[in-house]
């Protein structure tokens, strides 16, 4: 698959599911090679050697139906790196750093393995809807294949050893991306997410900008990685996610019962603007798309041609410029964003 085709590929996690609240599930495993210092302490040659060793093993998994393609980040321009960040396939810090580093991608992006980020390997599986257990199963499958060929740093008492002690143990960070417009509109979100943070889980916004409620989308993840088994971590996050979903659905029902006309007005206004606007900023677009999604989820609006996650990602600055294959200044982007949404929402 040629690079542009691979990057533009519709990421598996952006597919529509029957889950009205959980957009996607992610599992990430942090792993390091025993024989090398952690990435921040590597020399240029050391980093190149780690990259070469790991990329070789990652692309060797083809026979196992993983079909991973390794992309060195040094070969990508800044827009291409931004596309990977906006699709949640690499972290902003991998994009922002220098030296030998990269990402191995599956054709549908369900696997995205970062090389030489904070740890030598960050095995990520990203699936649509609430599929934490399946994501973990897939991540473990790949981890087993890698572990058969690479010596990972591991101690009996501390588990998998990581550059940052917040990841040591299982090296597992599991997270769900949830869409909570009902809780935000009914002003219950702080209360519900505040409770979540007291259960050993962290909450942040869509692209990790503080905890800003960008498009009413939040990411909830585990914090503790040592002293708990993978199963316990996933079961706990799954149970809390189900609670969040229940609260969100109750909030939506409350809106339907108490202020039905206001709710209808809100979602139809969003649809009307998205169908007719000639200029849309990134923030406006995400906010309106969130209300539109609420409307379709609640059966108040007809479904759109493209789904919520796809529209949100494709209208981000990097993806928009990459799809249109040209650089755009912010005002040109607002115009093209509005055009793309008009075409795709019909």
């Amino acid at each position: 698959m040629i690079r542009k085709e691979l990057l533009l590929q519709h990421s598996a996690w952006m597919s529509e599911t029957d889950s009205p609240v959980v957009i996607s599930s992610r599992v990430r495993l942090a792993r390091n090679l025993e024989d090398f210092p952690f990435p921040h302490g590597l020399s240029q040659e050391g980093a190149a050697q780690v990259e070469k060793t790991v990329a070789q093993v990652l692309t060797d998994t083809e026979g196992e139906n993983k079909e991973l393609s390794y992309i060195p980040l040094t070969e990508l321009n800044s827009i291409e790196q931004q596309v990977l960040i906006e699709k949640h396939l690499i972290s902003p810090s991998l994009g922002g750093s220098t030296g030998a580093r990269g990402v191995a991608l599956a054709p549908d992006h369900r696997y995205a393995v970062m090389v030489n980020e904070e740890d030598h390997l960050r095995v990520q599986v990203l699936l649509p809807g609430n599929q934490l257990l399946e994501s973990h199963r897939l991540a473990t499958e790949l981890d087993d294949l890698l572990e058969a060929k690479l010596d990972f740093a591991y101690r009996e008492s501390q588990g998998y050893l990581t550059a940052c002690p917040t990841n040591v143990g299982t090296g597992l960070r599991a997270s769900v991306m949830v869409h909570l417009p009902g809780l935000v509109i009914t002003k219950q979100v702080q209360q519900v997410l505040g409770a979540v943070t007291r259960l050993g889980l962290a909450v942040r916004g869509l692209y990790g900008e503080g905890s800003q409620a960008f498009g009413h989308i939040f990411q909830v993840s585990n914090q503790i990685t040592l002293g708990k088994s993978e199963e316990d971590i996933l079961t706990h996050l799954d149970a809390v996610t189900r609670q969040i979903v229940e609260h969100e659905l109750q909030a939506r029902e409350l809106l339907r019962q108490q202020t039905p006309i206001h709710l209808e007005d809100k979602v139809w206004r969003a649809r009307g603007t998205l169908q007719n606007a000639r200029l849309l900023s990134s923030e406006d677009a995400i906010h309106l798309l969130s209300h539109d999604r609420l409307g379709t989820d609640m059966g108040l609006l007809p479904k759109t041609k493209d789904c919520f996650a796809t529209l949100i990602v494709d209208t981000r600055p990097g993806c928009l410029q990459y799809i249109l294959d040209r650089e755009l200044d912010p005002s040109q982007r607002d115009e093209e964003r509005a055009r793309l949404i008009r075409e795709r929402i019909a």
Binding site: P37, R155, L161, A163, Q191, T197, R204
Partner: protein, 171 residues
């Protein structure tokens, strides 16, 4: 982002503060964070290294030591680690085990690894864990006076001991 308290230093920590059932978020610098007694917080993932520096700072035993040990593999000292907020290599975990212990307890709440064991490198360890689990089951069965089942478990333990050469430790 600037600290919302002193408005002078760069904020390194995101706190969720719950008062009268309402939760609000506050971004604080290291010194203001030290002053606050709030415990209900989450990490901001992007600022974890800085946050770790703050954690180390709360309990910086390393700074009081006149001569510092350096990690034999990567050469980093514990104070260098606290400055970066990251360990240098896998051997650092062994070299600075004592200094790291309180930090790991604070971050993860204590407890040893109970997660996945690498199949190839941890083969001996997997057998030993299995053996330990069976011994616990054996004790429970004996207490319940379920001697027939206990005998079966005892035989399983013997079998593992014979194949693995007993409770050898994993390097």
């Amino acid at each position: 982002m600037l600290c919302q308290h002193c408005k002078q230093q760069e904020a390194i920590m995101q706190l969720f503060i719950t008062e009268n059932g309402n939760t609000r978020e506050v971004y604080l610098c290291q010194s203001c964070a030290k002053k606050t007694q709030e415990v209900s917080f989450v990490f901001h993932p992007a600022i974890v290294p800085e946050f770790l520096q703050a954690l180390f700072g709360f309990n910086s035993t390393a700074k009081d030591q006149p001569t510092e040990t350096a990690c034999p593999k990567c050469g980093l000292s514990f104070s260098q680690i606290t400055q970066v907020g990251k360990l240098g290599c896998s051997t650092c975990y062994e070299t600075f085990e004592t200094q790291l212990e309180p930090l790991l307890r604070r971050v993860h709440g204590g407890g040893q690894n109970v997660g996945k064991i690498p199949a190839r490198r941890g083969a001996t360890l997997i057998k030993r864990m299995e053996q330990r689990k069976l011994k616990e089951t054996l004790q429970a069965l004996i207490q319940q006076e379920a001697f027939e089942e206990a005998a079966v478990v005892r035989d399983q333990i013997r079998k593992i001991e014979q194949s693995a050469g007993g409770e050898k430790s994993d390097s």
